[in-house]
Symmetry: C2
C-alpha cells in the first residue's frame, strides 16, 4: 500500500533531526510517493539537508520527492503533516544563542542558569505556526517536537483548532534504569505518564513482575558507589542522586528529562548541581549544557560533511533502519490505518489524567490508527505525586500559557515570584525590565508592555 | 415557633466567642427551649462562661438552659449542632502559647514569623472532633469556626461524613473599603467568594452601579496619603499597599484576611511588612500580633469581670441584639426553615467554583433553610486570579490536607520546600527535626515519624 501525502518540516535546518526523519521515511514503504518539503530560513543549512535527503532516497531507492523553501506559508499549502522542531531565532541570533542571551540576562539578576524566559519566545513562534496551519492547511496534523512541548501544545490547542501531537524522546530513558540495574531490556516493560518533561514511572516490570523492589535494593546497595563514579555523559541523570531523592519524595521514579527539571533545591548553584547530579552537574549546568551545545555543533558539521561529500554513501552514516523516533510511524499509522501504541502529548479530553483540566496537554499512551489519536486513560497517580509535583508544575504551565493568551505583564511577574531565587519584587521587576528592553526581545516587549 | 435543639460549644472557654453566641441565642426566639452545652477542658473559664450565660438568659428572659462539661464525648451525645472554635493546647501550653512556641522554633531556622506549622496540630484535633461527631451524633451539623478553616473543613469532609459548615468573619471587611471610599454602606453590595482567608471581590456595587472605578480613582488620588497615615488598628490591612498591589497583580480586590495572607514578598521581614502594611507591619508582624494577643487577653479579663460581678447587668456589656456572627441565624434557618443567604465554607460539590475538585471546601454564598445548605455557583473567576492565586493556594492546602490523611513525613518536607524562605534541604529538615522532637508536638511526631 502506498499513500502519497505532503509532509512539511518547519525548521528543517535542524540537521540531525531532519536527517533522522528523512531516513525513517526512506525505510517506511507505506509512505512512498509522498512529497517532503524542507522549510527553514537558513538557506545554507537547507541546501545541505536537501542534498542529504535526495542522496539518501536515491541510495535506498525510496520513492520520495524532496523540495526546499524559505517561505513557510507557501510550504504549508496542501500539507497533510507539519513537523515543527524550531528553536526560534531573534534577529541575528541563532536559536541557541538567543537562549544564552536570555540566560545571561537572568543570571545578572540572580537567577543562576536562567529563569527559562526563552520559553516565551518559543511559545509565541509556535503559536504563530499553529495559526498558519489552522488557516492554510486546517486538516493537517501538526507534530510538535520543540520545547516547551507541555506549554506550547497546551497553548496551541487552546488557541487554535490545529490537530496537535506533541512528541519527545524522554520516555525512552526508563531503559537506562534497566541498564543500571543490569536487566535484560527485552523483558522490561514500563509506563510513564504525566506532563512532558514531568513524567513518572507508574509501572515497571521485569519478566512480568513488579521491578520497583529492584530499584529499592539498588538504592540500598549500589547507589552511593554509582553516584561517586566519574560521569561522562551530560545527559546521564536518570539514576542520579536527584532522581532517587525525587523518587523518595513523590513515591514514583521520575523519567527522562523529569529528574533534570524537578526541584529548585537541586539547582541552586554548581555545588548543589554536582552534589545531586555528579561531577558534570547534570545536563543543565554550565558544564553539561556546554557539552550538549558542543555535541550539537559537532554533529551538525558531521552531517554537513556527509551531505556534501559525494564520494561516500549517506546511508553509511545513517543506517537504513527505523529509529526510535515516533514521527514517521505515527504518520504511517494515521495514513495507512496501521494501528500503533505511542507516547504522545495531547489534550486531556475525557480526563485521561484525572484532576486536571480537559484543555491541558498531558503525556500519555495513545492508540493511533486511521481513525485518529485516542489517549489511553492514566491510572490514578498517587496523591503525594499529584500534590507534591503535578499541581505545582501545572501551575507554572498555566502562568506561562495564560501569559501568552492574555499578554499581560502581571503574568511574567507572577511567574518570577514563584521562582525560589526571587528575593523581592525589585529583583523580578528589574529582570523583566531589562529582558523586555533588550532589542532581541522586541516581539515579547510588544506583547507584554506594562 | 419554638424548636428545642441541643447545641454544643466545643472550646466554650473562648470567652468572647461564646459570649457572642449566647447573646445571639438569647435574642433569637426561634431557638428558645434549646439546651446549650458549654464544653472546655479549662474549668475556670468554663465556670465564668456558664455564669455569664445563665445570667444573660435570665436578664433577657430567654428560655434556654445551659450546662457545662469537660467531657467532650459526653457533651456530643444527642447534639443537633456542634460549634467548634478550639485553638488546641499542648500539654501545659495554652492554644496561643503553643502557636508561639512553634513560631519560635520556625524562626530559629530562618522562617521569620513562623511557617504555620501550628496548622497541623489544629487539623489533627479538629479531625478528631469530626470523627467523634460522625460516631456519636451523626445527624448533627458541625459548625467550624477555628483556623485553618479551609484546610480543616476540607480534611474533615474528606475523612468523615460529618456535615460541616465552616464560618469566618473575613468577608464583612469589604465594608472597610466602603468606609475608606466614603460610601454609605447601605447602598453598597459585594460578592467575595474563593477559599477561606483567600476571597476576592468579584462584584462591588454602589447604588447598583459598578464601584470598582471608585477604588481605581482612590488609588490614583488618595492611596499614598492613606498609606502614610499612622495605623492604629493591627487588623487594618484591607486598603493597605499590599492589598492594592494584589489587586493589580490578580485583577480583583482581596478581602478580609486575604491581603494579610497572600504574597510571600510582603512578609520577608519587618521592613517589608511596614512598607506594605504601614507602621504596625500588619496583623501578623511581631507588633500587630502582640496587639492582637493583648486585646484578646484584655477582653477575656473584661468578660470574666462582667461574668463574676453580679452588681451589674451582663446585658449592659453584651447589647441584646443579633451580632454579625452567622452561627445562630444559620441554626435558626436549618431548624425553623427560615430561609437565609449566608457566606459559608462547604465542599465544592457540583463545582460551585469551577476548575477545582468537588471535595475541596470553598467559600461561597449558600441558601440555607429547612432542607439544608445549598451553595450558590460562583461566576468564573478571572484566569489571572485562578492561575496566579487560586491554584498555588489550593496546592498548599492539598499538601497540608494530604499530610494529615496519609501521615507521611514527605508532605511536611514538600510543604516547607514550597516556602520561599527555604534555602536548601538541610534547613527544612533541621526545622522539621526540631519541631517533631519537641515534647509539645508528641502527637504530630507519632503521625509523621520518618
Amino acid at each position: 500500500m502506498q499513500t502519497s501525502v505532503k509532509i512539511v518540516i518547519i525548521g528543517a535546518g535542524s540537521a540531525q533531526f531532519s536527517a533522522g526523519i528523512v531516513r525513517d521515511l526512506c525505510v517506511n514503504k507505506g509512505l512512498y510517493g509522498s512529497r517532503v518539503v524542507l522549510m527553514d530560513i537558513d538557506e545554507r543549512r537547507l541546501d545541505f539537508i536537501e542534498k542529504l535527503a535526495i542522496r539518501m532516497a536515491q541510495e535506498l531507492k525510496a520513492d520520495l520527492t524532496f523540495s526546499k523553501t524559505t517561505d513557510r506559508q507557501q510550504a504549508l499549502k496542501g500539507a497533510d503533516f507539519v513537523i515543527n522542531t524550531v528553536q526560534v531565532k531573534a534577529h541575528e541570533l541563532e536559536g541557541h544563542q538567543w537562549v544564552e542571551l536570555q540566560r545571561r540576562l537572568s543570571e545578572k539578576h540572580g537567577y543562576y542558569r536562567g529563569a527559562r524566559l526563552h520559553d516565551y519566545g518559543q511559545m509565541a513562534f509556535h503559536l504563530e505556526v499553529a495559526r498558519d496551519v489552522e488557516r492554510i492547511c486546517p486538516e493537517a496534523w501538526l507534530i510538535e517536537s520543540a520545547n516547551p512541548v507541555f506549554e506550547a501544545c497546551t497553548l496551541m490547542t487552546r488557541e487554535t483548532k490545529a490537530k496537535v501531537i506533541g512528541l519527545c524522546h524522554g520516555h525512552y530513558v526508563y531503559r537506562e534504569i534497566a541498564k543500571v540495574l543490569g536487566l535484560d531490556l527485552k523483558y522490561v516493560t514500563a509506563e510513564m505518564p504525566g506532563f512532558n518533561h514531568w513524567i513518572w514511572m507508574t509501572d515497571f516490570r521485569y519478566k512480568g513482575k513488579d521491578a520497583y523492589p529492584l530499584i529499592n535494593e539498588w538504592i540500598q546497595t549500589n547507589a552511593e558507589e554509582y553516584w561517586a563514579r566519574d560521569v561522562k555523559k551530560f545527559s546521564d541523570t536518570q539514576m542520579s542522586r536527584a532522581a532517587i531523592d525525587q523518587y523518595k519524595l513523590y513515591g514514583l521514579m521520575p523519567i527522562g528529562d523529569t529528574p533534570r527539571m524537578v526541584g529548585w533545591l537541586y539547582h541552586s548553584d554548581l555545588v548543589a548541581k554536582k552534589r545531586w547530579y555528579g561531577n558534570l552537574g547534570g545536563f543543565d549546568s554550565e558544564i553539561g549544557w556546554q557539552m550538549y551545545l558542543d555535541e550539537l555543533n559537532r554533529k551538525l558539521s558531521e552531517i554537513e560533511q556527509v551531505a556534501l561529500d559525494e564520494s561516500k554513501l549517506v546511508s553509511h552514516t545513517f543506517k537504513p533502519e527505523q529509529s526510535d523516533e515516533q514521527i514517521v510511524p505515527i504518520i504511517n499509522s494515521l495514513v495507512n490505518d496501521v494501528q500503533g501504541l505511542y507516547q504522545v502529548n495531547i489534550p486531556n479530553a475525557g480526563h485521561i489524567l484525572k484532576g486536571f483540566p480537559e484543555d491541558l496537554v498531558v503525556e500519555c499512551k495513545a492508540i493511533i490508527n486511521g481513525s485518529g489519536v485516542r489517549g489511553v486513560g492514566i491510572p490514578p497517580l498517587p496523591e503525594r505525586l499529584i500534590t507534591g509535583a503535578m499541581i505545582p508544575r501545572w501551575h507554572l504551565a498555566e502562568l506561562k500559557v495564560n501569559a501568552m493568551r492574555e499578554q499581560k505583564y502581571e503574568y511574567l511577574l507572577l511567574y518570577l515570584l514563584e521562582d525560589h531565587r526571587t528575593k523581592n519584587l525589585e529583583q523580578a521587576e528589574s529582570l523583566l525590565e531589562e529582558w523586555l528592553s533588550d532589542s532581541h526581545n522586541d516581539i515579547l516587549a510588544k506583547m507584554f508592555k506594562k
